[in-house]
């Protein structure tokens, strides 16, 4: 098992290396000079060169790539010479030195440095980490909601195949999959948060776009879960529809298998057969789908976050893209792909738990 996980992690690192290379090249062939964008309106040639030097833009592309990799790597080589392009700048890195070698070289362990925003000059990692938890909470809530009800309805429809319950739930799920999220978000927020706030207890105008609400008197944050309901529900509509259909077809397939007949021949009740013998077999494709959805929700559900003014990753990336704030965009892409890789490794482990046949000896 440990060998299997090591292999998966190595493979994941390889994927990340590929992503880093592509991201770096893509953003370097984009037109526009970041140094000029960083400049104030009245800057002169001299300050332009200073900024270019600071960003390493005076170096060749390959050197820049080495710098970028060195910045990202948790273990990196640096120079203590101020003039050197790999200068160990305390303003950039939070590090602890492992050992020095050569004349001025040190090997350090550090948190990956994602550079600074062109706009705000804040560290990108700080900005992303500020917004990630909000998105994580939203995505987790949405996917939990969708998985629970999706699987539940999936089982129900498969057991009641061709009845009106099955047909109406299937119809709803097709509807849910085909309505774009920006549309359903608007409809739902209008219906529940605006037209019927008394009945639903959720008022659109009181929503802060965050899990917390600030006390009017300034006494800090108050947790307000009801803020989460609408965006999580909206975000869950598509996954729930897909999960329902997947569970249904997978269950129908499994229920026709010989081992289900064996279980029935043992004298087990239908309930036990369905839950214990069928569901565990039927869940594999569902897990695949859920993991993919979860990872992409974490990457930011742009429309839903915009409409509910939810301060999450999607929001930040959208903002950065419109302002050409490349470090944030690059950082965002890297963060997203890292999440994808991690989710995939976790899913591989879940497969093994569900199905002994994919377990590796």
């Amino acid at each position: 098992m440990s060998q299997f996980i090591t292999k998966r992690i190595l493979y994941g690192l390889l994927v990340l290396a590929g992503v880093i290379t592509i991201v770096f090249l893509l953003f370097n062939v984009l037109p526009g000079d970041p140094a000029r964008m960083l400049m104030g309106q009245r800057a002169d040639e001299e300050s332009l060169r200073v900024i270019q030097k600071d960003l390493g833009l005076d170096q060749t592309l390959s050197t820049q790539f080495v710098m970028y990799l060195n910045d990202l790597s948790p273990i990196s080589v640096h120079s203590t010479e101020e003039e050197h392009y790999l200068y160990l700048d305390e303003n950039k890195y939070s590090y602890s030195t492992l050992f020095s070698f050569g004349d001025n070289n040190v090997l350090v362990v550090k948190t990956p440095y994602l550079r600074r925003s062109y706009q705000t000059k804040r560290q990108v990692s700080e900005i992303l980490l500020d917004y990630l938890p909000e998105t994580a909470v939203l995505a987790t809530a949405a996917i939990l909601f969708a998985s629970f009800f999706g699987v539940l309805f999936g089982i129900i429809t498969s057991l009641m195949k061709d009845t009106w319950v099955d047909k109406s739930l299937l119809f709803l799920s097709v509807l849910g999959m085909s309505i774009p999220s920006f549309y359903s978000a608007i409809i739902i927020s209008w219906l529940i948060g605006f037209a019927l706030p008394q009945a639903t207890g959720i008022n659109l105008f009181n929503m802060t776009g965050s899990l917390f609400e600030y006390d009017d008197l300034g006494n800090g944050e108050i947790l307000k879960l009801s803020n989460l309901v609408l965006p999580a529900f909206t975000l869950g509509i598509r996954p729930i529809s897909a999960i329902l259909q997947l569970t249904r077809s997978s269950m129908l397939d499994v229920m026709s298998q010989d081992y289900i007949r064996t279980a029935r021949a043992k004298g087990l009740s239908k309930m036990v057969v369905v839950i214990k013998h069928a569901l565990k077999n039927a869940l594999n494709p569902v897990v695949t789908a859920v993991s993919g959805m979860f990872a992409s929700l974490l990457a930011g559900a742009l429309f839903v976050e915009m409409i509910f003014a939810w301060k999450g990753l999607g929001w930040v990336l959208y903002d950065a893209l419109t302002k050409y704030d490349l470090p944030i965009v690059m950082g965002g892409v890297l963060l997203t792909s890292t999440i994808f890789v991690i989710v995939n490794i976790v899913v591989d482990i879940i497969y093994g738990i569900l199905d002994p046949r994919v377990r590796v000896s």
Binding site: Y259, R261, T262, A265, K266, G267, H277, N281, D355
Partner: protein, 602 residues
Amino acid sequence: MENRTLLEIKNLVTEFRSDGEVTKAVNNVSFTLNKGETIGIVGESGSGKSVTSLSAMRLIPNPPGEITGGEILFHGKDGVIDLVKATEKQMRSLRGNEIAMIFQEPMTSLNPVYTCGDQVAEAIMLHQKVNKKEAKKITIELFKKVELPRPDVMFDTYPHQISGGQKQRVMIAMAMSCNPSILIADEPTTALDVTVQKTILELMMQLQQEQDMGIMFITHDLGVIAELADKVVVMYKGKIVEQGTVMDIFTNPQHPYTKGLLACRPPLNRRLHWLPTVSDFMSVDDKGEMKEKNKSVEEVTENLVISPEETAKKHEKIYAQEPILEIKNLKTYFPISKGIFGRAKEYVKAVNDVSFKVYPGETLGLVGESGCGKTTLGRTILKLVEPTAGNIIFEGKDITNLSVKEMREYRKEMQIIFQDPYSSLNPRITIGEAIMEPMRVHNVFNSDAERKERVMELLKRVDLPEHHFYRYPHEFSGGQRQRICIARSLALNPKFIICDESVSALDVSVQAQVLNLLNELKEEFKFTYIFISHDLSVVKFMSDKMIVMQEGVVKEMGYADEIYNNPKTDYTKSLINAIPKGEIDDIKKSLDKKVARRSTTV
């Protein structure tokens, strides 16, 4: 004397509904099963034998199926219950407890995500109301009883980690777990090798004596139950056409269908031109009315015997030629464990240093148990699997190291017919297209119109109507599908065909038809076959020479009749021994044994 009746089925009718059409899968079936008795229910697929047994368990999928008439009286400890009218709750307490079942496919009948032990213990906990620890103890005892190796390890083993025979033993353990009074065995050995089949049958007999169980043994092969059953029920199209004691059925079959079933097994003591089939004894007209031809089994087979002299003459001619295929020291290894950089550390030697020659017009038989490497050998010859070492020489040219592109030329000449006609046809392609496809790939003929004409010819040749061109595989039975597969392999006019267990998935009656077809085609098109099977009787019927394989190595090679009459290795002997022969003497012996046993126990 005590009442030994266990189960009385009276005028049972089970119907299936689809698209407004009602078919009577079981039509007015009656028979009685007594304690300690084995009833063999025999018939081809679709004869209603499985539906009968599932009706007794009340496991007919509903919809579309429904029991619409009759009674199934179960004589249990607390009196007689009509299972047709029993509530679902009553049925649940009987299933697995009083009436247990073993299914045909051990591969798919166990839940892959639970351990073997858990699945058996589950039934024990359910019916015997014991705790988990106790159930585990009982399960391990049962595993010992069904002779599974290392029972305590087996408890925590998952189904995919053990062989088919072992899985069937687990199934038997599960069925026996609550000491049922009735065991329904639905083709329990059909998916297994003959050698494994023999051991499983022996085990079932032994358990039956110990527990005085009634067994309902469902099979398509009369031979299998010859030494097992007391009574035989022959079913055809949902009805019982004949029932009687096993001796009566074998010595004096009345119904032409029973005669057909008896005659269509490849005989071991002589060589036949072709195998008699059910149609030699009866014909069915368009209205479904049956017409008897009033011939006995002996009358039909006598005319078909080939004398040894004829055979010798034929062989002389065949082996005087240059070989069409020569295999020299062929080895095919598969890596089982890989190092961190993907280099193989250990190998399975699936084919280990095999050499032989095949002559034009010959049928070379390849026989052995599953896992002996016969299938890998067949695929290596066609280079569907890359050989590790050795040479494959086809018509004087070494094709071992040809590239995929160069090999294409030879693919036309060499074809293969696979084992499973159900999965070797793409369900989304009409059978006409499927047969046409190889011709397109190899640019045979210039237009699809010409190719289509050829497909029509081929369909006719394998006895399928031309309008089947536009149908999809699911509309056909197993035997028909295998005909389609044969037509597909004929499409390119090959010289050399490998039949890889091509009839193993078929009923004996259908098997005989397909074997006859293969032989006819061989005569007509001058084919050369390599015929691979685990069933020595089939291989012996088909082949001139025969190779016996075990663990990748050739154990014995020579004329088929000679090997059968005079086996040199113990392995070959065990293969021959395991064939269910259905000979009268053997039946008598086993009946005598049963009588002797009963008189000692009563």
